[in-house]
Amino acid sequence: MFGPLVVKPSKSKGDKTGSWRVKLRPKYLQKNCIACKMCALICPEGCIQGKEKNTYISDYNYCKGCGLCAQVCPKADIVMIEEGSEGEKK
């Protein structure tokens, strides 16, 4: 009969963990960003992407609001703001 539980990566979209954010979310000012990639490197979700300067941003479907990107940004180009304070969808 049918085999065991095996999952193909392409089939998995993962849980939308963006819903975990309670208080804060990162806001990417994209003004002084020097594309050092530190935010992308240390994001536990791996949901920060960008190419050149001032293009890095996290995917709010998955971002859990931990604040590590804001902590690590050498240019303070990421700030933590109240969740929902700017009307962005969750």
Partner: protein
């Protein structure tokens, strides 16, 4: 955003999880031509809850203590299939300069990584790991050291630091918490005479990736132990994961070292900070903060590391 990275978002690690950071960095450095064998633990649980998976590479979990053995079987199968060079052979008796870079791993070899947490590696999985190291398999074993059995709710492991508060070594009127120091796991791995042993930290992400790439370029068994803060178990804010990891290294409590063919070839030099800076930001050490005597013992551990590995940066050196 379309993701085909090797460790995708959507996993259910706690907010600010250091192990999630390190696991992604490891597999991105190792690349897609990699098979991962994972012990039971936080990483396994939060990355593969059916029907979801965070892994973009072939990945298998069997049990809590046999990743090193399952990986040995994977590697043996790859050799049989001609997708990995034969392993074994004598480790260099006296580590000489030229043997320091060891046999190069062939370009198209499929990388095999066995990985687990500190408990899964140094306690319940030690036997399988020792067998894998001793047999000379071409495998990188990666230990994510969050210093307790975090997945089952922060119980003490062999790598739990001295005096730490865990649910099975709670401080009380009769106890200061965990009464034993960390098991010297990197030294134990190194004692197997393998080609490469290194420690790394979630506080130094590029260093993790450099060491993974280096390990993958070396044939034979490799051991990498990565210090990964656990906001839940260490009781600090998720935004402090990076900071706490750095402090562990900068106080000398978690030396970042590299052994090649048994010889200590590199350490991350530090301008040592007092251990108290590290302790005070973590709830798991809160019970020590008005206990200078215990803090002195922890400082002594750090000082011993600093001396043993000559961690202190020379004055004036940049």
């Amino acid at each position: 955003m379309e993701y085909n990275p090797l460790f995708k978002p959507g996993h259910t690690a706690c907010v600010g999880c250091g192990q999630a950071v390190a696991a992604r960095l490891v597999i991105e450095a190792a690349g897609s031509n990699t098979i991962v064998v994972n012990n039971t633990g936080c990483l396994e649980v939060f990355s593969t809850k059916y029907p979801e998976t965070a892994w973009g590479v072939p990945w298998i979990h069997s049990l809590f203590e046999n990743a090193a053995a399952v990986a040995s079987g994977v590697e043996a199968a790859l050799i049989y299939l001609g997708k990995s060079p034969p392993n074994g052979g004598m480790p260099p008796i006296t580590p000489t300069a030229d043997s320091a870079n060891g046999g190069k791993a062939a370009k198209d070899t499929i990388n095999v990584i066995a990985q687990g947490g500190d408990g899964g590696t140094a306690d319940i999985g030690l036997q399988a790991l020792s067998g894998m190291l001793e047999r000379g398999h071409n495998i990188l074993y990666c230990c994510y050291d969050n210093e307790a059995y975090e997945n089952t709710g922060v119980q003490r492991s062999g790598l739990t630091p001295y005096a730490t508060n865990t649910t099975t070594t709670p401080p009380g009127t009769k106890s200061i918490g965990n009464i034993r120091p960390k098991k010297p796991m990197p030294e134990i791995a190194n004692a197997h005479g393998i080609a490469y042993v290194a420690t790394a930290s979630a506080g130094f992400p590029q260093d993790i990736q450099r060491k993974v790439k280096k390990a993958m370029s070396i044939k034979g068994p490799k051991y990498l132990q990565i210090h990964v803060p656990c906001p839940l178990g260490w009781r600090h804010g998720p935004e402090l994961t990076l900071e706490v990891a750095k402090l562990a290294v900068e106080t000398g409590l978690y030396p970042l070292i590299e052994y090649e063919n048994g010889k200590l070839t590199a350490v991350r030099k530090i301008q040592p900070k007092p251990v108290e800076e590290y302790l005070k930001v973590q709830g798991r050490f809160k019970h020590l903060l008005n206990n200078p005597e215990e803090i002195k013992k922890i400082q002594a551990i750090a000082d011993a590391n600093i001396e043993k590995y000559n961690l202190k940066v020379k004055p004036g050196a940049t």
